[in-house]
């Protein structure tokens, strides 16, 4: 078998399951061999990353609207579920993000695992998480997608519940119950969709075709489609999270250990927005048109509500968590516009939010490590005590508020702009109103972020910490952060790196919506 053939056949499968294999390997290493455990875990993550890089390098970017590296095997025949994996321009950036974040988080945690320590269990969970996240992004069969989508729940539940902060038990079960509620309705929708679309395949492409055929024949009731979309909306909307289902997020983020918060912000939330585009919009375009005004409304409410929530926070980590609600609001607004332009902005926004908010949670973790508190009013003068840490925080805050030239800008600004000219089937007045509200949200964002920076980094250290020696950025932190910081800058200057990949697929999708009245 020649190399390329091997990669086509096994590349994605290896990439997804190498972390799981690593997790199984970790189980048999004796607990006392901590160093070996860490090396093995990082090795598994890097091996998966290496395979992933090879796949992405061989990906044909000139036809990125087509599914590539497709593998289609029988799986659970009795329920017509197949093992179908494949990637296109929509999945590539998110896979790259996931492959990057996992090893970085491991490096960051290397020498300070949160209480109650136990790196073995922690790393096993992290590797299982990686398999779940990567699997979700490559799955092209709804059942396979659902299984991977759910696989991430358990490790995250334990990560928050065992290694989290004081309210960890409450936060972890809240996270679990909210997400499962969405999933339960989502799977009902998936099944309904399966039967509506002909009942012989769960492949997303076949389902979309089945629905399109029945719509063309005019024998599929709109109410059925709208209700099916509604079930998916619950599943994905809770994951994103959209207002009013966001209340699990501040608790989960705040209580999770740093590594958990970073993964949650960087990748897990994207499972929801990715699902919206990949599953809901792709398969049910006509129902999406009906839902878009409501999604848009919830998105802008999320933007404003998240921003106001931020202004009321006294805890740095909780503030960053609320800012996620606002940022995901921009992503959802881009999606709700149902235009190529808006969808591109949304995907860029996902990646940018992953990098920037992931970084912010890293920083919050490091601040907590040094000051043992995240209460904003007890902090201050970070630039004096740990200038490098302070400036990195400043850089990320600038990126987060959407400063042009940094990655955050290309997610936020085009998303707002896309609402100016939504898909023809949508009400222009309504979406222009959304646009104005969202634009106001960016002002609030600048407000709360700069206020955060001012209170934590400027001024002089509070009396409490005035005489405490604060260590500046450590080596492990540098290793974990430099790639993220570099990407924030590079993507800010050359946003086409991502737009080039995502545009062909999203153009096809945008044209579908443009054709609907």
């Amino acid at each position: 078998m020649d190399n390329n053939e091997f990669l086509t056949e096994w590349g994605l499968t290896l990439m997804v399951f190498l972390p799981l294999a690593g997790a199984l390997l970790l189980m048999v290493i004796p607990k006392a061999q901590e160093q070996m455990i860490k090396v093995a875990a990082l090795g598994a993550a890097l091996a998966s990353g290496a395979v992933g890089v090879a796949v992405l390098a061989n990906f044909n970017y000139d036809s990125s609207e087509k599914l590539q590296f497709v593998v289609n095997r029988n799986w659970i025949e009795a329920i017509h579920a197949n093992y179908i994996v494949g990637i296109d321009g929509l999945s590539v950036p998110l896979i790259a993000l996931t492959l990057l974040i996992t090893p970085l988080v491991m490096v960051y945690s290397w020498n300070h695992f949160p209480q109650p320590h136990n790196p073995q269990a922690f790393l096993i969970l992290m590797l299982v998480l990686a398999t779940g996240m990567l699997g979700t992004f490559v799955a092209q069969d709804l059942i396979l997608f659902f299984v991977f989508f759910e696989v991430v729940l358990l490790p995250m539940y334990f990560m928050i519940g065992v290694w989290g902060g004081e309210q960890r038990q409450y936060a972890s079960i809240k996270f679990f119950l909210y997400t499962l509620f969405g999933s339960a309705l989502m799977i009902v929708s998936f099944l309904a969709l399966f039967f509506v679309a002909g009942g012989d395949s769960f492949s997303m492409v076949d389902l979309a075709q089945g629905v399109a055929d029945r719509n063309a024949a005019g024998n599929l009731a709109m109410i059925t489609q709208v209700l099916i979309f509604g079930g998916m909306f619950m599943g994905f909307g809770i994951k994103v999270p959209m207002f009013p289902f966001h209340t699990w997020l501040p608790d989960a983020h705040t209580q999770a250990p740093t590594a958990g918060s970073v993964i949650l912000a960087a990748v897990l939330l994207k499972l929801g927005t990715y699902g919206f585009i990949r599953v809901a919009l792709f398969i049910l375009p006509e129902a999406a048109v009906k839902w878009a005004p409501y999604i848009g409304a919830l998105a802008v409410i999320g933007i404003i509500y998240g921003a106001l929530g931020c202004l009321a926070q006294t805890d740095m980590k909780r503030l960053i968590a609320f800012s996620s609600v606002a940022h995901m609001g921009f992503v959802m607004l881009g999606i709700a516009s149902l235009t190529t332009f808006g969808l591109n902005a949304a995907v860029f926004g996902m990646v940018a939010h992953g990098l920037i908010t992931g970084m912010l949670f890293f920083l919050a973790g490091s601040v907590k490590d040094r000051f043992h508190t995240l209460e904003i009013k007890r902090l201050g003068g970070l630039l004096l005590q740990a200038p490098k840490l302070g400036w990195i925080l400043g850089f990320c805050i600038m990126a987060s508020l959407g400063l042009p030239g940094l990655a955050g800008f290309w997610g936020e600004f085009p998303a707002i702009l896309s609402a100016y000219n939504p898909a023809p089937a949508l009400s222009q007045e309504l979406f222009r109103t959304y646009m104005v509200i969202a634009a106001f949200g960016t002002v609030l964002a600048a407000g709360y972020l700069l206020w955060l920076f001012q209170r934590t980094a400027f001024g002089t250290p509070s009396e409490e910490f005035a005489d405490v020696e604060i260590e500046d950025v450590r080596v492990s932190e540098w290793i974990a952060w430099v790639p993220l910081l570099a990407l924030i800058l590079v993507l800010g200057v050359f946003p086409n790196i991502i737009f080039h990949v995502t545009d062909p697929f999203l153009t096809v999708m945008g044209n579908t919506f443009a054709g609907l009245k």
Binding site: A184, I187, V188, A192
Partner: protein
């Protein structure tokens, strides 16, 4: 004169053809239970461990003819159609045998270490198992009733096996009284059905139930008969509002017996329901469907809500078992439009449920050996001193909750599939949403146990490692392998699709 009589008898009475191969599983098991009694009689007191081995080997030996019958593949029908061997009976018999084998593994140490009569215990267990095997093959009211009593009466005694314990007595008596009452209701229903159809065979009853017997309007009588028979079995599967015996009985009975009741006995009830509803009552899905809809919705909701408040793990599992029964009843609500899907879904669910629930009980037994308590609070910090056991229990719990990729998700999935196909109906969709919401409620109490094990401190600070006897380790291993395999492969769904009835 006599010669004439003899001649007339000889000409009218044909000895029914007995297919020895078809009856081999029952014969082997009957032989095994006689051997168990004899072995117990002739081994000196104190030499424990022999009887359970004999019982286990007997069960596995009975598995052999089940396999040869399956390989042979021919459907067999005996006694005028009252007793059949078809795919359905073979799949379910294999499940009953395997589940009973695990129960023997669970019982080995428990019975040997407590002050219990060992020989009689396994004798009764095998008797009940024999009843279950017969149940899976019966296509006749009388055969089914005999099977039911054969599996119930030993179970009444086993439930009260801890005879010096007041809760044990309560368990036995309550189960007995409720069970007998249910039998009476059922018999009344059966007599009505016999009165209308003039036959006890399901195939004849099916005709009469669908068309009446041509002697005036018999619809109300048929309805009454159908409802009474179904309610009798609703007791057996602990469907709300006929579930009240379950928690007290489960708590008071010896834990291995509880596992047996919660898995095998409940499965036997479902086997009977499937045969009745899909063969005998198929013409009256206008009665069966709504009845099952209400029973299913009530059972899962009430079971879950009460399970939320439990502090004892066995009672929690009892109520969770009630809720799970609700999930299993759900496909029967759409039996009119999707009878094949309903059958396949219930069988698949039964297989997966047996694996994961037996596994959970096995871990409960292992942990109770150390903590000497069934309070959920006593599970605190299990992860610190028994990480492997904690992971196993986590697998079983979250499988019961239906989290992919563990078996339970596929069980829920086939229920959803049955409810939503082939066409979306309002009743099906609403029940599917009720199932969905209930799965979320259920997660809370399953996750609560996981929370104790993973996130709480050890209550008494006693971190001595847990010693796991060989038989319990085997039971847990078997259960966990099946639980995971059912979740990621098409084993269970395939068997569910395979388990078809012999066409009448």
């Amino acid at each position: 004169m006599f010669a004439f009589l003899l001649q007339s008898v000889a000409s009218t009475f044909d000895r029914p053809a007995i297919d020895l191969h078809a009856l081999a599983p029952e014969f082997v098991l009957t032989g095994a239970l006689v051997v168990v009694l004899l072995v117990d009689l002739f081994t000196p007191k104190g030499s424990r461990g022999i009887v359970p081995s004999v019982a286990g080997i007997g069960i596995l030996a009975a598995m052999v003819p089940v396999l040869t019958l399956a390989l042979d593949g021919a459907d067999r029908s005996m006694f005028g159609g009252a007793y059949v061997v078809d795919n359905f009976s073979l799949v379910l018999q294999a499940m009953f045998l395997l589940a009973a084998y695990v129960v023997v593994l669970l019982s080995t140490n428990y019975v040997a270490e407590g002050d219990y009569a060992e020989g009689e215990y396994y004798f009764l267990l095998l008797c009940a198992l024999l009843g279950m095997l017969v149940m899976a093959s019966s296509r006749d009211l009388i055969t089914m009733f005999v099977a039911l009593e054969l599996l119930s009466i030993p179970a009444y005694m086993l439930a009260g096996w801890r005879k010096r314990d007041r809760r044990g007595n309560e368990a036995g008596v309550k189960y007995y009284l409720m069970g007998v009452f249910a039998s009476a209701v059922m018999l009344y229903g059966m007599s009505l059905l016999y009165g209308i159809s003039g036959s006890t065979l399901f195939s004849d009853i099916a005709l009469a139930v669908a068309r009446g017997n041509g002697l005036g309007d018999t619809t109300p009588l048929i309805t009454l008969g159908v409802v009474f028979v179904l309610i009798g079995f609703a007791f057996k599967v602990s469907a709300v509002p006929f579930h009240t015996w379950a928690p007290d009985t489960y708590e008071g009975a010896p834990t291995p017996v509880t596992a047996f009741l919660a898995v095998s006995s409940k499965a036997a009830g479902f086997v009977a329901l499937l045969q009745l509803i899909l063969i005998a009552f198929i013409g009256r899905d206008d009665v069966v469907g709504p009845l099952m809809w209400v029973l299913a919705a009530l059972t899962m909701t009430v079971g879950n809500l009460i399970a939320l408040r439990q502090t004892n793990i066995v009672r929690m599992l009892a109520y969770s078992g009630v809720a799970q029964a609700g999930f299993m009843l759900a496909p029967l609500a759409v039996v009119g439009s999707n009878s094949d899907g309903a059958r396949s879904a219930v069988v698949t669910y039964l297989l997966i449920y047996a694996a994961m629930n037996l596994g959970a009980f096995a871990v409960v037994l292992i942990v109770a050996r150390k903590t000497r308590s069934a309070e959920i609070a006593s599970w605190g910090g299990l992860f610190e001193y028994a990480p492997g056991l904690t992971v196993l229990m986590t697998v079983f719990l979250f499988s019961l909750a239906g989290i992919p990729p563990l078996g339970g998700w596929l069980a829920k999935f086939v229920v959803f599939r049955a409810l939503l196909s082939p066409d979306l109906t309002a009743g099906g969709v609403i029940l599917a949403v009720v199932v969905g919401v209930n799965s979320v409620i259920a997660l809370y109490y399953y996750a609560n146990v996981a929370r104790q094990m993973w996130m709480n401190p050890v209550p008494d600070g006693d971190r001595t490692p847990v010693r796991i006897p060989f038989s319990l380790a085997a039971a847990v291993t078997l259960s966990v392998v099946l639980t995971v395999a059912f979740g990621v492969s098409d084993l269970a769904t395939h068997l569910g699709d395979l388990a078809t009835f012999l066409p009448a």
